[in-house]
């Protein structure tokens, strides 16, 4: 099923939670809504579900306007962060509840329950109450409950954020596998960028009710359209430094606040800029290396072990730069280091508007 949001607005009292959202989801696609809490992503999801009425704008399912349809008439399945299992029913009753409401025959219920519970590997848990299930099991039951209706659209509201890290990884794969196999169009709300980046076909980044970007995960990482996205995507987050454009010997350089200059490769030339303009220079920590020949000099202010790597925070003049190194390096606090920067990965943003100076 194709889903489209046209000029969608939702406000509560005077607070605008979703602002003029336009977005299309293709048939069979999994789209992640990514953003910090309070950005309007869950509100959008609940508006698609019909739980909230849009303040203005339209929602189309396969070209048909569904604004005034009740949630139950929308042919959707939804999975919640809190699992939202009915606590007074056992897993089986939870799963078949929608069929009970449709007054389906008992054999069909049992058959369908078997189908979805086999799919999710919860066949042995069916007579347990919600309170007797672990978080992961509860979420599987919730997923089964959403799938048994054979919905045309699946909605996920941070389904994994109450699970522990390891379970989260396996559920991530499982959901993605099920979704691809069944080909159900899905909208997946999350604040976890790894989840969004690894699962989604396209990621919609939301902030304060605005849609900031709606592109593939790769695009999002490699070609951030705004400073916010650049910093929001990737962990540890992108270094942002104030810099000035400077033409040296006919080739464009940036000059950092401590006076260091770095050449800009041709394909990364900031658009519609001139010599002397101030820009925001962005570079990811993984693209910065310790290098005794490096032209940038910094002073180590903090070292943090991330397990496989060390995160080193250094000051370059007055500005902060984070970089990743192998743990073997013997670097001590307050020592001076030389750094090389892979300028082929540089990002440039307008100093005032925060918009990219590189990408369309």
């Amino acid at each position: 099923m194709k889903m489209e949001l046209v000029n969608l607005n939702k406000s509560f009292q005077d607070v605008s939670a979703v602002k003029n959202l336009n977005l299309k989801v293709n048939d069979g696609e999994l789209v992640a809504f990514l953003g910090p809490s309070g950005c309007g992503k869950t509100t959008t999801l609940l508006t698609i579900a019909g739980i909230y009425k849009p303040t203005s704008g339209d929602i189309f399912f396969d070209g048909e306007r569904v604004n005034s349809l009740q949630p139950k008439e929308r042919d959707i399945g939804m999975v919640f962060q809190s699992y939202a299992l009915y606590p007074h029913m056992n897993a089986y009753q939870n799963i078949v509840f929608s069929l009970v409401l449709k007054k389906r025959p008992k054999e069909e219920m049992q058959r369908e329950a078997k189908r979805v519970s086999d799919m999710l590997g919860i066949g042995h848990l069916l007579d347990r109450k919600a309170s007797q299930l672990s978080g992961g099991q509860q979420q599987r039951v919730a997923l089964a409950r959403a799938l048994i209706k054979q919905p045309k659209l699946l909605l996920f509201d941070e389904p994994l954020s109450n699970l522990d890290a390891r379970l989260r990884m396996s559920m991530r794969e499982e959901i993605r596998r099920l979704q691809t196999n069944l080909g159900i169009t899905s909208v997946y709300v999350t604040h976890d960028q790894v989840e969004a980046m690894t699962m989604a076909d396209r990621v919609a980044v939301m902030h304060n009710g605005d849609l900031l970007a709606y592109v593939t995960p790769e695009e999002l990482h490699e070609r951030p359209r705004t400073l916010f996205i650049g910093q929001f995507i990737g962990s540890p987050s992108m270094n942002i430094l104030d810099a000035q454009l400077k033409s040296i010997d006919g080739s464009l350089h940036i000059k950092l606040t401590d006076g260091t200059t770095l050449p800009i490769p041709g394909e990364r030339t900031p658009k519609s800029c001139k010599d002397g303009d101030m820009v925001k220079f962005g570079i990811r920590p993984e693209d910065v290396k310790l290098d005794s020949n490096g032209s940038v000099r910094g002073k180590v202010t903090f070292i943090e072990s991330l397990g496989r790597e060390h995160l080193i925070v250094s000051n370059i003049g007055e500005q902060r730069m984070q970089l990743l190194t192998e743990p073997g390096n013997k670097i001590s606090l307050d020592s001076n280091i030389n750094i090389s920067v892979d300028m082929r990965k540089a990002q440039f943003f307008d100093a005032e508007t925060g918009l990219t100076l590189l990408w369309e």
């Binding site: 579900a49 019909g50 739980i51 949630p71 139950k72 939804m78 919640f80 409401l101 449709k102 209706k149």
Partner: protein, 289 residues
């Protein structure tokens, strides 16, 4: 030193026992008196007897009263649970115009001393009496007008309703929104969500309010006393009032037996459901004093 320590430590207990003694003594006296022929103060003088109990248990009036009181208590329980849980649902969880005003009004009524309205309610009940059948032609409760058990029941429900609505609203407020959303997406109507998904989750709340309502109805005095003409055929409280305040000399043995008889279910509930009841007392006590 040690003796002084003890006396300081026992001081709070001594104070509590002295100040609570009227309550202990009152209960003890009623209990003793039902099994004795006579007493001099706290001292049983006439010897053990079951006569008092035999007398009242053989009395058809008593059983009639028990029936009435039970109907009143049960009616109040069912009525208050149904009406307040229905009203509290949209007040807690639906968006509609006038919701806040309705809530504020019921809150004002919750604090409002409803007994001041008894005079006017007397007239309202007389009007209801004039309605055929509904007013005074129903089996069991007589109708809903003046001098009927149904009328007393309606007024009792009304007086407890603001409390019921606010308690129930509090319970509904605590249910997760996601569960209700899931039910709506699964295909429930709001009515069905209320009935099949939400009510089962506030069972402890329903139990607490239900027990409270039952005890309240079982004890009720002022409303039946005001709106039933013959105190003997009204409820147990009005009957006991008649036994203990009439112009005739009081038969303390019989009165105590009636009192203890009425008290037993109350004490039973109180013993086993104290935790529930405390919730209600602290959540929204009113009336009495």
């Amino acid at each position: 030193m040690k003796i002084k320590d003890y006396s300081i430590k026992s001081l709070p207990y001594i104070f509590l026992i002295i100040i609570s003694s009227p309550i202990f003594i009152g209960y003890l006296w009623v209990f003793l008196r039902t099994f004795t022929r006579s007493m001099y103060g706290m001292r049983p003088t006439g010897g053990f007897t079951l006569n008092n109990w035999a007398l009242i248990l053989k009395d058809p009036i008593l059983w009639n009263l028990v029936g009435n009181t039970f109907i009143l208590a049960l009616g109040l329980t069912i009525g208050i649970l149904l009406i307040s849980s229905a009203a509290a649902y949209p007040l807690s969880r639906m968006a509609f115009r006038g919701r806040k005003i309705y809530l504020s009004l019921s809150l004002i009524l919750h604090a409002f001393p409803s007994v001041t309205l008894l005079i006017a309610i007397f007239f309202v009940l007389r009007w209801i009496s004039a309605i055929p059948i509904f007013g005074r032609g129903l089996p069991l409760i007589g109708g809903f007008g003046y001098n009927t058990l149904g009328g007393v029941l309606l007024v009792s429900i009304a007086f407890m309703l603001p409390l019921g609505i606010w308690l129930m609203k509090g319970f509904f407020d605590n249910i997760s929104w996601d569960i209700e959303r899931a039910a709506l997406i699964d295909g429930c109507s709001r009515f069905r969500t209320w009935r099949q998904i939400l009510l089962p989750q506030i069972r402890p709340g329903l139990a607490a309010l239900g027990i409270f309502a039952f005890m309240h109805g079982w004890s009720s005095f002022i409303i039946p006393y005001t709106f039933m003409v013959d105190a003997r055929t009204a409820v147990m409280s009005t009957y006991l009032n008649l036994l203990t305040s009439g112009d005739r000399p009081i038969d303390y043995g019989v009165a105590s037996a009636v009192a203890l008889f009425q008290l037993l279910p109350i004490l039973f509930f109180y013993l086993f459901t104290q935790k529930y009841l405390l919730k209600i007392f602290s959540g929204g006590m009113k009336g009495g004093s």
